[in-house]
Amino acid sequence: MGTNKTHRQPNKLVTKVTDRQNQDPALNWGTQQLGISLRKTEDILTRDMLAASASFINCVGGVNGDVPTEITRSDCSNVTRVLYNNDAKSIMDNIEGENRFGTAPIRRSFFGMCSTNLTPSLQATTGFTQVSGYPSQTNVLSSEYGSIDAIRFLISSQGSVSPNASSTGANVYNIFVTGMEAYGVIQQNGYSSQLIYRPAIFSDQLAQNVSIAYKFAQAQRILNDQWIVNMRATLA
């Protein structure tokens, strides 16, 4: 229902045409969206820190003619060898083999965090086991896509990409292969994520609209540079 509202302040006249509305559904929807945005922002900050600071190893075992090449099993083996040599601890325990068709045991693994754009390349890599081929679905993460060698790949649409950074100008995908406690995120005391709701009387000159927001502060850094490797790859 449209209404005209007039509000006089000491130095100016504020006139608004407004629609009366039930704000609860919009508020619920907004809260959900802000929650997603909050967690996504936390991840993006950590992702950007890793992209800036982690040492990298180029994939070189592929055949696409680019530098770096597409990901291969030999590149995964090389990265895990480097992490083993540096005494990095794997994050996930092994999944023992079971007598089930189409499954294969999964060894103790590091995490490889990467972009969803890499899924066709991963699928085409020799030695790739997709999540559905694990003997057990216990302790499988929702973002997990599969496993090669001792790396279990977690995918995200927010995965790190270096645009036009290959020899041919293609995008280079940064796959952060990390052992346990390779990096840390510290949320400051009293300033961890807060969802802030203000009713209309505190948000608006005319007490018409509520506001909702979030704020947080966090610090992130690599704790041991030898326990994380940025494996750089182009698409197959």
């Binding site: 800036a52 070189v60 036009n164 020899s167």
Partner: protein, 394 residues
């Protein structure tokens, strides 16, 4: 008014990396572009050149990109809705105090947001520019189609040339010869060895951002063999004395004895090189991976911490700096290695461009430099005011 945010500040025109364009002769020239932080963002900005307000005009005799045909701007205005990089400009067209007005389409004022979240801001990566040739040298000379956006200190990323060991590697531009030619790298961070063949046709893109977080991993272009060796990086490193870095040296780069070794930064030579505490005199010579060795890994240095004792011994130099300016939000002293988010919102004040009518160049809102016959520089002093508006739009 409620919702209006105003900001203001002052700066000196930036001469880092620039020399007198007419060596041995007194002259005036453009300064390097300047980025000012405006945390709120800005809907409009005004820049006034305090020095040039009280100086007679250059009468189209100031140097702009190597040619003495420019006037020096005295005042610039830009507001949201105008094209990025443009500005309304006033200047003195004759050697008098009479003011003229013009519009510049490039080299004016541009929104800066390295996060990539502001679609109106300068893009993080520029459009590809065609390259016709690049030389087989430790500082490859790149010939390209006309492009005035590359200045000394720009970072470019080559692609699709025959030099696949240079492609994809961000490199600083050390010299701009003309609008169709520049030289990669500087005398202090040239590649240890030439790529192995000429580059031929391909592309480059101007990289308008550095990684958001400090300290930053960097690709290593050269390491000398010495008791206190010098390390070159392909782009500005931002290191400070006392910081500790770990090297990754692939077999293609020769000096594998340094692979995995941690070294302390002893001195910072310049933005692109520093000395370290590890004696490399007896190690295998360092080399840049060649074309024939591709695909390969590349040598890098990764900051891993701080040698507090070494840092305390040179405490006055513990400020992470690039181009003479402290990197935004970095810590100083023995905490100079702290991991911080360097991102900020701001404005890029450009070094000028051609006017619309008349078309002679106008030195932009980053100010001008005055050089003596002894090649000593005096920068302009500029003041800026920026604001967010209460209402309105484009």
């Amino acid at each position: 008014m409620i919702g209006t945010i105003l900001g203001q500040g002052t700066f000196l025109a930036n001469s880092v990396g620039l020399v007198n364009p007419n060596l041995g002769v007194a002259s005036s020239s453009e300064a390097a572009p300047t980025i000012i932080a405006v945390p709120s963002g800005a809907d409009w900005v005004s820049v006034r050149n305090f020095t040039q307000y009280g100086t007679a005009g250059a009468a189209a005799g100031a140097y702009f990109q190597g040619t003495a045909n420019a006037n020096i701007g005295t005042e610039f205005f830009w507001q949201r809705g105008m094209a990025q990089g443009s500005a309304l400009a006033t200047y003195k067209a004759a050697a008098t105090g009479v003011i003229s007005v013009n519009t510049i389409a490039t080299g004016g004022i541009t929104i800066y947001d390295p996060s990539g979240n502001n679609l109106l801001a300068q893009p993080r990566i520029g459009n590809p520019v065609a390259v016709s040739a690049s030389t087989d040298a430790t500082r490859p000379v790149v010939t390209h189609t006309a492009d005035t956006s590359v200045v000394v200190g720009s970072v470019v990323r080559m692609s699709s040339t025959a030099q696949n060991d240079v492609n994809g590697i961000d490199m600083v531009v050390g010299t701009v010869t003309s609008s169709t030619q520049f030289t990669l790298l500087t005398t202090t961070n040239a590649l240890a060895t030439a790529p192995g063949a000429i580059g031929g046709a391909g592309f480059y893109r101007v990289i308008n951002f550095a990684s958001m977080f400090y300290p930053r991993m960097r690709k290593v272009s050269n390491i000398t063999r010495a008791s206190v060796p010098t390390v070159g990086t392909t782009v500005a490193h931002g290191m400070t004395p006392g910081q500790v870095v770990r090297f990754k040296i692939p077999t293609q780069s020769g000096m594998v004895q340094l692979d995995g070794i941690v070294a302390t930064v002893v001195t910072v030579v310049d933005d692109f090189s520093f000395t370290i505490s590890v004696d490399t005199a007896a190690m295998t010579a360092f080399s840049w991976p060649t074309i024939a060795q591709q695909p390969s890994d590349f040598p890098t240095m990764t900051p891993v911490g701080e040698d507090t004792a070494a840092a305390l011994a040179s405490n006055t130099a513990q400020v992470p700096t690039i181009a003479g300016l402290q990197i935004n939000a970095t810590s100083v002293g023995i905490l100079a290695d702290a991991a911080v988010n360097t991102g900020f919102q701001g404005l890029i004040l450009g070094n000028g461009g051609a006017g619309l009518i008349p078309t002679s160049p106008i030195i932009g809102p980053s100010g001008s430099l005055t050089w003596t016959s002894a090649n000593v520089v005096t920068p302009d002093r500029l003041y800026w005011v920026a604001g967010k508006s209460e209402f309105g739009g484009f």
